[in-house]
C-alpha cells in the first residue's frame, strides 16, 4: 500500500490522528509526519487539563459537605441557599469540562489528547448521577491520562477502582450474599446483595467484548469477586484514597471465571481476574477493532485490525506499542477521509482552526446538548458512538450549521478565510471548497462555509 505524499500525510496527521490543525501545525508536521506523531507518545501519559487541581478525594469530601448544606437549607426552607449550593456543585463539573476543551483546542500534541479521549470514552463514566458527576473530571485525570501510553491492565484497574466508575455502575453498593455484612443486614431485617452492573460492563465493554466468550455465570462469579471494591464514605475511612476495599462486604471463597480458578483472598482476587482479562486474545481483538474504527473508518480494514491486535498481544497490552503500530499502519493514511466528526470533535477542531480556545462553558454546552453530546453525559456505559450514522442526522446537521454561523459571526471578521482554510486542511482542501470560501460574500460567511465543508466535517 503506497503512502500519499508528505503534504497529504501532514494534513492527515493533524486532522485524523489529531483533533484538527491549528495555524502552522501542518507545516510543522510536514518534515516527517510519522515521527511528528510518534514524538507525541510519552511515557508519563497524556497532558493534564488546567482544572482547579482537586482530586477525587477532595471532590467527594466537598460533595458530602454540599449535601449536608443542601439538606440543612432545605430543612430551613431556604430555597435560595439550596439553589446556590447546587450551582456551586455544577460549577466544578462545568469547569472540568471547559478545562479539558481548552486543552484540546490549544495543545500542540493533539494526537496524544485524542488517544486519551478515546480511552476515557472506552471506560465511560457519565455525570447522570450527581456523585459521579463530581468526580468525572478527576476520573480522566487520575485513572486514564497517566496510563494513556502505559499498560492497559493498569488503566483497567485504575478505572475499576475509581469512585467515578464504582458509583456510576453501582459497584460501591454491591454486597456478597455470604459476606459478614449481608449476615448483619439480615439480622436487622434489611436486604443487601450483589449488583452485577460493573462486572458485566468490564467483560462486555472494557475487555472481552460482547462476543468474548463469557457466560452469565462468569458475570455473576466476577461480580462476587468484585464485592468489597467500594468508596470511602468519610474522611475516617479514606484519607489518601477515595477507593476503599470493604472486607466485610466481600464474598468469601474461591471463584471460577472463564474456566480459571481464583483462590486469592480479598481484593487480590478481582485484581487477578482483571490481570487475566487484560491479556486475553478476545480483549486484544475487541480493543484493536475499536481503535481502528475510531481512528480510520467506521468499518475498518481487517488488515489494520490484525496489525493492532498483534501489537497488543506481543506487548501484553502496552498502549504505547499499540499507538506506534497505528501510526506505522499504511491503512491509517488513506487520503479519502472516512470518519465523520462527533460534535465534540467538530467543536474542538473549529477552535483549533481559528487558533483560539473556548473562553466559557456556555460557548460549548448548549451546542453540544443540541447536537446530542451533552458534556460528560454519555447516555450509556457504551460511551459515545463514533460512527457517521449516529451523528449525521438531518436535524444535527442543521444545528451544526447554526453553530458555524454564530461562531463565524462572532470571530470571522478578524480572520482571513483563505488562510484559515489552507492552515486547517492543507492538502485536504478541495478545489470546490477553496473556491466557495474565496467567493463568499463576507468573512463570516466564508468561515462558516469552511467549517461546514465536507472535508472539515470529516477527518
Amino acid at each position: 500500500m503506497a503512502l500519499p505524499g508528505k503534504d497529504m500525510q501532514a494534513a492527515i496527521a493533524a486532522t485524523r490522528f489529531g483533533l484538527g490543525a491549528r495555524p502552522g501545525e501542518i507545516d510543522a508536521a510536514r518534515g516527517d509526519p510519522r515521527d511528528w506523531l510518534k514524538a507525541q507518545i510519552t511515557r508519563d501519559g497524556a497532558d493534564q487539563p488546567a482544572t482547579d487541581g482537586e482530586s477525587a478525594v477532595q471532590r467527594l469530601a466537598e460533595y458530602r459537605q454540599q449535601q449536608e448544606a443542601i439538606q440543612a437549607a432545605r430543612k430551613a426552607g431556604d430555597q435560595e441557599a439550596v439553589k446556590a449550593a447546587q450551582r456551586d456543585r455544577r460549577q466544578d463539573v462545568n469547569q472540568d469540562f471547559l478545562a479539558r476543551a481548552q486543552l484540546g483546542a490549544a495543545t500542540d500534541a493533539s494526537f496524544r489528547e485524542r488517544w486519551a479521549l478515546f480511552w476515557a470514552n472506552h471506560f465511560t463514566v457519565s455525570a447522570t448521577k450527581q456523585i459521579t458527576a463530581s468526580v468525572a473530571g478527576p476520573f480522566e485525570q487520575e485513572a486514564i491520562r497517566p496510563h494513556a501510553f502505559g499498560r492497559f491492565e493498569d488503566m483497567l484497574v485504575a478505572s475499576s477502582s475509581h469512585p467515578a466508575m464504582l458509583t456510576y455502575l453501582d459497584q460501591a453498593q454491591s454486597v456478597g450474599p455470604e459476606s459478614s455484612q449481608a449476615a448483619r443486614a439480615q439480622k436487622r431485617g434489611r436486604r443487601a446483595g450483589l449488583n452485577e452492573n460493573l462486572a458485566r460492563e468490564i467483560l462486555e465493554l472494557h475487555t472481552l467484548g460482547v462476543n468474548g466468550g463469557y457466560t452469565q455465570a462468569d458475570v455473576t462469579e466476577f461480580a462476587r469477586a468484585m464485592t468489597g471494591w467500594s468508596v470511602a464514605r468519610n474522611a475516617d475511612e479514606g484519607v489518601d484514597s477515595a477507593f476503599l476495599f470493604r472486607t466485610a462486604t466481600h464474598e468469601p471463597g474461591e471463584r471460577t471465571v472463564m474456566g480459571r480458578l481464583y483462590g486469592q483472598k480479598g481484593m487480590d482476587q478481582a485484581r487477578a481476574i482483571m490481570a487475566d482479562l487484560a491479556t486475553r486474545p478476545a480483549t486484544a481483538r475487541h480493543c484493536a477493532r475499536k481503535i481502528a474504527a475510531h481512528f480510520v473508518a467506521d468499518d475498518p480494514p481487517p488488515s489494520l485490525v490484525q496489525r493492532l491486535e498483534k501489537a497488543w498481544l506481543s506487548s501484553e497490552g502496552r498502549l504505547d506499542v499499540v499507538a506506534t503500530a497505528l501510526i506505522d499502519a499504511p491503512e491509517a493514511w488513506e487520503p479519502t477521509p472516512a470518519k465523520f466528526k462527533t460534535p465534540y470533535e467538530f467543536l474542538i477542531s473549529t477552535w483549533r482552526a481559528a487558533g483560539t480556545q473556548p473562553q466559557a462553558y456556555n460557548l460549548l454546552a448548549p451546542t453540544l446538548n443540541g447536537l446530542g453530546q451533552p458534556p460528560f453525559r454519555p447516555p450509556s456505559p457504551d460511551g459515545w458512538a463514533d460512527e457517521a450514522s449516529a451523528w449525521a442526522a438531518p436535524d444535527a446537521l442543521i444545528k451544526r450549521m447554526t453553530f458555524a454561523q454564530s461562531f463565524s459571526q462572532r470571530i470571522g471578521d478578524c480572520l482571513d478565510p483563505n488562510t484559515v482554510a489552507a492552515n486547517a486542511l492543507g492538502a485536504r482542501l478541495s478545489e470546490p471548497v477553496a473556491k466557495a470560501v474565496a467567493r463568499a460574500e463576507s468573512r463570516p460567511e466564508a468561515l462558516a462555509v469552511l467549517l461546514m465543508s465536507p472535508e472539515f466535517q470529516r477527518r
Binding site: 453501582d170 452485577e196 443540541g370 457504551d382 442526522a393 438531518p394 442543521i398 465536507p454
Partner: protein, 414 residues
C-alpha cells in the same frame, strides 16, 4: 443555485427556496390524502431495559409481592387493568385511555436475543433481525421501503440523532426542539451546492432543511415557543418537584408538537421517539416514577395533539429486555428477559392481554430468574404493521423482519 432572496422574505420561503422548487412542492404542497395513508404509527423505544413488572405490575399474581419485596406495588397503588395486572401509578393519563378501551398490554414479550446486553438487544429490537449484526437498517425504515411503491409515507425521529430503528435506505427526517437556523443567510444554498456529490451529507442536509420548514409551521400553532432541552440541570435534588413539573410540561409539549407535525398535510405518519433512563439497577422506584411520569405526559400530549386523528393512530412502547423477577440487594433489578409492552390506539379492538402470562411461579421463571417470554416481539410489531398500517404479510416475513415467518403476526389488536 446562486439566486439571492430579497429582504422581507419569510424564513420559510427562504428555506423552501433553498430546497429547490421540486422538493418544496412535493413536500409542502401535497394535498391531504384520504386513503389508508391516514394511518399513523408511533414507536416509543424505551432504552435501558424497562422493568415490565413495574410498568404493568401483575399485582394479582400470587408470587409477585414475594419476589419483589420492597419494590412491589400493592394492588391499591397500581392502577387497575384487570384481575391480574395494573399500571404503574405514574401512568394516570395512560390509565384513562385504558378505561376507554384504548390500551392493550403484552406482559411477557421479548426479542429473540437472550444475551442480556443493552447494546446487543437494542440492536436486535431496532433492526428486527434474529441476532446482532443481522441487519444494518431498522425495521421501521424497511417498513417505509415496503410501503413506498404504493403510497408516499414520511417518517420522523425525535432527537438530534436518528435511532437505528429508522436508519436505512429511505431518508427519514429527524427533529428536536432547539434553536432554529438563521434563514436569512445564503449558507444553506452554498452548502447544498457543496454537498451535491456527497452521498452522506447531501440527502441528510436536504432532509434537515425540509424539516426546519415544517417545524416552523407546526410551532406557529403553539401558544409558546418550545424551549431548548435542559442541559446539566438535574431534577433529583431540591427543586425536584419544580424541575419535574417543568420536565412534564416539556414532555407534553413535545407530544403535542410531534402530533401537529403528524397532522399536517404530507406530515410524517411514522414516528420513532427514544426514551432513556430505564436501567434501574438501584433505587428503582424513584427512578421509574419520574421516567414513567415523563412517558405518561408525552403520551398525553400526543393523544391531545392528534385530536380526531387519534382514532387512526397506534402507539407501541417497547424495550430491549426486561429485568430480574427478584429485587436485588440495592433496591433495583438486574438484566432479565421478557418485559411488558404497551399498545395504545384510538381504534384498538377489545381483548385481554396479548400473549400468555407465564406466571411468576418459581418453575415458570426463565433460568430461575426472569419473566419467561411467551410472545416474540416481532409478532407484536408484525401484527400492528399488518392490521393497522396495511403492510403485506409476505414482506413482513421476509423483508421487514428477515426470516421471521415462524413469528406469526399477533392477531386481533387493531
Amino acid at each position: 443555485m446562486t439566486d439571492h432572496h430579497p429582504h422581507g422574505y419569510s424564513r420559510r420561503q427562504a428555506l423552501l427556496g433553498a430546497l429547490g422548487l421540486g422538493a418544496s412542492v412535493t413536500f409542502m404542497g401535497r394535498p391531504a390524502r384520504a386513503e389508508v395513508g391516514g394511518k399513523k404509527l408511533i414507536v416509543l423505544v424505551c432504552r435501558g431495559a424497562l422493568d415490565g413488572l413495574s410498568l404493568t405490575p401483575p399485582v394479582g399474581d400470587p408470587d409477585y409481592a414475594g419476589l419483589r419485596g420492597a419494590i412491589a406495588y400493592t394492588p391499591e397503588q397500581a392502577l387497575k387493568l384487570d384481575g391480574t395486572f395494573g399500571l404503574h401509578p405514574a401512568l394516570t393519563r395512560t390509565h384513562a385511555l385504558a378505561q376507554k378501551g384504548q390500551l392493550r398490554i403484552a406482559p411477557a414479550v421479548a426479542t429473540p436475543d437472550r444475551a442480556r446486553s443493552h447494546f446487543e438487544a437494542q440492536d436486535v429490537l431496532e433492526t428486527g433481525a434474529v441476532a446482532r449484526y443481522g441487519a444494518s437498517s431498522g425495521w421501521l425504515n424497511r417498513t417505509l421501503q415496503t410501503l413506498s411503491p404504493d403510497r408516499k409515507v414520511e417518517a420522523l425521529s425525535v432527537g438530534a440523532v436518528a435511532p437505528l430503528i429508522l436508519r436505512g435506505q429511505v431518508q427519514a427526517a429527524s427533529w428536536s426542539p432547539g434553536r432554529n437556523a438563521d434563514s436569512n443567510a445564503r449558507l444553506p444554498t452554498i452548502l447544498q451546492d457543496l454537498y451535491k456529490t456527497d452521498p452522506l451529507l447531501g440527502p441528510v442536509f436536504a432532509r434537515g432543511l425540509q424539516t426546519e420548514a415544517m417545524a416552523q409551521i407546526a410551532m406557529t400553532g403553539l401558544s409558546a415557543p418550545t424551549q431548548p432541552m435542559e442541559g446539566m440541570a438535574q431534577p433529583n435534588a431540591a427543586g425536584m418537584q419544580a424541575a419535574q413539573r417543568q420536565g412534564l410540561s416539556a414532555a407534553e409539549k413535545l407530544g403535542t408538537t410531534v402530533a401537529k407535525f403528524m397532522t399536517q398535510p404530507g406530515g410524517p405518519q411514522i414516528v420513532a421517539i427514544s426514551l432513556d433512563g430505564f436501567d434501574t439497577h438501584a433505587g428503582q422506584m424513584g427512578q421509574l416514577q419520574s421516567r414513567l411520569a415523563y412517558m405518561d405526559a408525552l403520551i398525553g400530549g400526543l393523544t391531545t395533539g392528534l385530536g380526531p386523528a387519534w382514532s387512526d393512530t397506534v402507539i407501541v412502547a417497547a424495550t430491549e429486555f426486561g429485568r430480574t423477577a427478584r429485587v436485588n440487594g440495592t433496591g433495583g433489578t438486574d438484566h432479565g428477559t421478557a418485559s411488558s409492552a404497551l399498545i395504545l390506539g384510538g381504534g384498538l379492538k377489545k381483548g385481554g392481554i396479548i400473549g400468555d402470562w407465564p406466571t411468576l411461579k418459581q418453575t415458570a421463571l426463565y433460568e430461575n430468574r426472569d419473566t419467561a417470554p411467551t410472545l416474540d416481539m416481532r409478532s407484536l410489531f408484525k401484527g400492528v404493521l399488518r392490521d393497522h398500517m396495511g403492510v403485506d404479510q409476505r414482506a413482513l416475513d421476509a423483508k421487514v423482519f428477515p426470516d421471521s415467518a415462524a413469528a406469526r403476526p399477533a392477531t386481533g389488536i387493531v
